[in-house]
């Protein structure tokens, strides 16, 4: 059902009244964000696939929030409705688990492989979770995590050395 450009909110409302425990947050322009719990990701993505005829799986990536708290963000774009749907999933644990959606949107297959090798988030039922980009010695070290220590010997020469006020969630960030 692709209709007037203002349809991002209509799609969001359709998703909400089907799954009440998802809350949505409109972003600027024709974009909407849905906070999706971990186990409902497949249902929401299949529903998006049916709702929006020409959904484009733009990207899927993880964010490390220190203390084994991760966040997965799926971004879909539709040309007909000129709308952008962003799904946000909160994850917990040393190697969190989530359902893979690459059979619905094949475009996300490599995004999931990359997130798996960079953050250690396991995608169940993914056809081949081989490492995509990393050389062999970095496989399993999950380099994009904040806990991956990098060579900081020349940090004082760059202009970034000033102590940055940051929320102190404990983990020492970049």
């Amino acid at each position: 059902m692709s209709d007037a450009p203002g349809s991002a909110s209509t799609v969001a409302r359709a998703v909400i009244n089907k799954y009440p425990d998802i809350e949505s947050k409109p972003l600027d322009g024709n974009k909407v964000e849905l906070i999706v719990p971990r186990e409902k990701i497949r249902e929401v993505v299949t529903m998006l696939d049916e709702e929006i005829s020409d959904a484009l799986p733009e990207s899927m990536f993880g964010v490390d929030l220190t203390e084994n708290k991760y966040e997965l963000i799926y971004i879909f774009w539709s040309h007909e409705g000129k709308m952008l749907i962003q799904l946000r999933v909160q994850l917990e644990g040393e190697t969190p688990e989530i359902e893979s959606v690459c059979d619905i949107f094949p475009g996300l297959e490599w995004h999931e492989r990359e997130t798996h090798e960079m953050f250690g988030i396991n995608f169940m039922h993914h056809p081949d979770l081989r490492p995509l980009l990393l050389p062999d010695e970095l496989v399993g070290k999950f380099p994009m995590r904040k806990s991956f220590e990098t060579d900081r010997s020349r940090m004082d020469e760059t202009g970034l050395a000033a102590p940055r006020p940051r929320p102190k969630p404990g983990g020492e960030s970049s």
Binding site: R154, E157, T158, G159
Partner: protein, 143 residues
């Protein structure tokens, strides 16, 4: 699209190629001839010690930390010696734009190749002057 159509295309392509064969080629003899470099070209740097006030803005602005400052080595009353590490420098021009005292300039010289890596770290003496030893090879002057 038909035999005659293809034949027409083939002869059109041959016309283009034949006309190209008798045209002057575009390339030039690089080490001996060179193309005119525009004046904004971001080549190697020149450090003007008179204007320098050792503020270190250029060191902070550099994304790859290619500049090392040595504040004790003074030639004028308030300046510093800069060591440009051209193995790291990416010629982005941030140091020149962040220097408020016009002490750093780019020059259109881009062929800075050296024998070994530590020659590429231009010390205070090398960074100030443009002249360098001419490169002779098999009786031909390259630089």
């Amino acid at each position: 699209m038909g035999f005659v159509g293809n034949l027409g295309d083939i002869f059109k392509i041959l016309k283009h190629v034949f006309r190209q064969v008798f045209r002057r080629p575009f390339t030039y003899f690089y080490p001996f001839e060179d193309r005119p470099y525009p004046e904004r070209t971001r080549g190697r740097h020149i450090h003007v010690r008179e204007n320098c006030t050792a503020c270190g803005q250029c060191v902070r602005a550099c994304p790859v930390a290619a500049i090392r400052i040595d504040k004790e080595d003074k030639k004028f009353e308030k300046d510093a010696a800069l060591y440009f590490d051209y193995t790291r420098c990416i010629f982005c021009g941030d140091c020149v734009s962040s220097c408020r005292f016009d002490a750093l300039y780019h020059t259109p010289i881009v062929d800075i190749s050296e024998g070994d890596r530590d020659d590429l770290v231009y010390g205070p003496d090398k960074i100030e002057t443009l002249d360098r030893d001419p490169l002779e090879w098999r009786g031909r002057r390259f630089r």
